[in-house]
């Protein structure tokens, strides 16, 4: 029993290390993906392209336009087309918003008569429209302050914890790590058994008295070790390359990663059990990955989703690990802060592995 387990693990490692493509898949892909994702996965709204229709042409209106480019919020463009063709630039996405400053803007401003400007947006990108409108309100408010010298009596003083520099890469790198770990482990294990079945080697293995349980565990452990190696590589790359701060305990993160891995590995094995070709297994793993990534809160908060969708996210094991990685790395969360997530992961790990074990029979019925 012990010999069998060690034999299986050794065999699996030999196979992985003799296969160049597999090695590339396991070690190079995650680093490339981490770098690519780290630079790309960024939904910050910046440099909004703003068409300017300034009918006032006064020093005040110019000052307002100037103010929009503060903090890289907007990139104002002087327009050459007529107002009635305003939509053209929206339709081919060369502009996101347009501001119209009426001819009496400076006049009214001087007379403290509350002038009106118009802001027209390409609403198809809901997010940048909402945030851009907010930016504009802020900019106009502080512009106004300069002319009226009025300080609003009620204000909020904000105190931002954990990521005060507002670097989105700090938030994304932990998420990418969770994503990569899930994708790779599900993908590899889903191929594990079906590959042996397709190639024919499973037949010889099943005719030995090895216990089904031992066989599954022997398939699982090598990929668990690879997964843990993966997380170390990805985290090290993230911390060194993107300078992501690591506030909490790496050991706690490592331990919980080990706990989490049981679930994606179990799911992969389950796929491997119910499919008959590698191609099918790849499709299953892929299907799962897409679902897991999109419902994990990876790039948009779960609280934004409709309520029924939020309930669905509870089914997604990656959701909990995503919270764990982010909480430990960014907020220094400790085990008591994470009891709920850890509890659910233990439950999922046990049930999914049992399901795989039950579904796996050494004899075809």
């Amino acid at each position: 029993m012990r010999q069998a387990l060690f034999g299986l693990i050794r065999k699996e490692f030999i196979q992985v290390f003799r296969d160049r493509n597999m090695l590339r898949l396991i070690f190079l892909m995650p680093i490339i993906q981490l770098l690519l994702f780290g630079y790309v996965v960024n939904i910050d709204v910046k440099d909004i392209d703003l068409d300017v229709y300034d009918f006032d042409r006064s020093s005040e209106s110019r000052e307002l336009v100037q103010a929009t480019s503060a903090n890289n919020y907007f990139t104002p463009h002087d327009t050459v087309i007529a107002l009635r063709n305003l939509e053209d630039n929206f339709q081919n996405s060369s502009s996101d918003m347009a501001i119209i400053i009426p001819h009496d803007f400076s006049e009214k401003l001087m007379r403290k008569e509350s002038p009106t400007i118009a802001l027209i947006s390409d609403g198809s990108n809901a997010n940048s429209t909402a945030i851009g409108t907010g930016y504009m309100a802020q900019i106009v408010q502080s512009f106004t302050k300069g002319y009226y010298w009025v300080e609003p009596p009620l204000k909020i003083r904000f105190d931002v914890l954990y990521n005060p520099e507002a670097e989105s890469v700090y938030y994304m790198v932990p998420g990418i790590v969770a994503t990569l770990l899930t994708m790779i482990t599900v993908m590899l294990t889903s191929m594990a058994i079906v590959r042996e079945r397709e190639v024919g080697t499973l037949e010889q293995l099943l005719v030995t008295p090895i216990k089904g349980r031992v066989l599954l565990i022997g398939k699982l452990i090598p990929f668990a070790i690879l997964g843990l190696l993966e997380i170390v590589i990805a985290l090290t790359a993230g911390v060194l390359w993107f300078q992501v701060p690591f506030v909490g305990s790496p050991i706690l993160l490592f331990a919980l990663a080990g706990l989490y891995l049981i679930t994606p590995l179990g799911i992969g094995l389950f796929f491997s059990n119910v499919t008959s070709t590698q191609q099918q297994a790849m499709f299953f793993a892929w299907f799962f990955s897409v679902f897991a990534i999109l419902t994990s809160g990876f790039f948009t908060p779960i609280s934004n989703m409709p309520m029924w969708m939020q309930y669905i996210t509870y089914l997604n094991p990656m959701r909990y690990f995503m919270e764990i990685v982010r909480a430990i790395m960014m907020k220094g969360a400790t085990l008591p802060d994470l009891t709920f997530q850890v509890g659910v992961l233990i439950f999922y790990g046990i049930s999914i592995f049992s399901l795989s074990a039950l579904r796996f029979s050494k004899r075809t019925a």
């Binding site: 010999q3 030999i14 196979q15 003799r18 005719v207 050494k362 019925a365």
Partner: protein, 246 residues
């Protein structure tokens, strides 16, 4: 434990298709039993049931004294199996393959290496131990597969077309090895499409469309059907029954 293999009306259906249809046979200890039949006759399906890889849909029987229906895992400790398709790990060398299967059968390092020494002598494995097995010629691969099947010193071995695609010299050597094994008291259950090989067997059975249609000593069968040789008898028998199964 009277017989090595003893089955009674064993069947396997795939849907409405009867791949194996109520076959009964007994094989004594130390016998070389030839399991003949045209392509698709159901030989592989029958062997897979005997080895505990496939659940029969009907009938009963024992292999090495263990019940086929109830004790498949116990059977597996007592038998060796060479499947029709090469099924060892191509990326692993011969020795790594043997080490792996040794550990799966619960043998420790010392047992495995002394067993490798024995088998190397018996099967001339020396040249293939250090090469990755996907790069081996077919005949060499089959010797390696036989070594794995014999690793844990089983009393019965099931060989499914062990000499398919192998050249005549290798085949001759292979069969002389089987004979030696038979002398040692190992029961050999073997399928083949070569009639010269069938002649080496103590007894043979002929399967056709899931049923066993003939069984006996090779030369008794030739005589009974008044044929010149085994090949003629085989072809005659199959033609007589119609070859819709092929």
């Amino acid at each position: 434990m009277s017989h090595a293999v003893e089955i009674n009306k064993l069947s396997r259906h795939f849907g409405s298709f009867k791949a194996v249809d109520e076959i009964s046979l007994t094989v004594s200890h130390g016998e070389i039993f030839g399991f003949l039949g045209a392509n698709g006759a159901g030989k592989t399906t029958a062997i897979r049931m005997l080895c505990g890889l496939l659940l029969p849909t009907g009938g009963n029987g024992t292999v090495a004294g263990c019940d086929i229906m109830k004790e498949p895992e116990k059977i597996k400790t007592k038998i060796g199996y060479m499947s029709q398709k090469f099924s060892l790990y191509g990326e692993l060398t011969g020795r790594e393959n043997i080490n792996f299967y040794g550990s799966v059968y619960g043998m420790n390092k010392r047992e495995i290496s002394s067993r490798i020494d024995e088998l190397t002598e018996k099967l001339q494995l020396q040249d293939l131990l250090h090469r990755q097995s996907h790069s081996l010629p077919v005949g060499w691969r089959q010797r390696l597969a036989l070594a794995v099947a014999l690793l844990h010193q089983p009393k019965i071995i099931f060989l499914d077309e062990p000499t398919g695609g192998v050249d005549p010299i290798f085949r001759r050597k292979f069969w002389s090895t089987l004979y030696d094994l038979g002398e040692e008291g190992i029961t050999i259950f073997v399928t083949t499409h070569y009639m010269d090989e069938a002649e080496y067997c103590g007894r043979i059975s002929i399967m056709h469309q899931g049923k066993i249609v003939e069984m006996g000593k090779p030369f008794d069968l030739v005589a009974r059907h008044k044929a010149e040789n085994l090949e003629q008898m085989f072809i005659g028998l199959i033609n007589e029954r119609g070859s819709s199964g092929a």
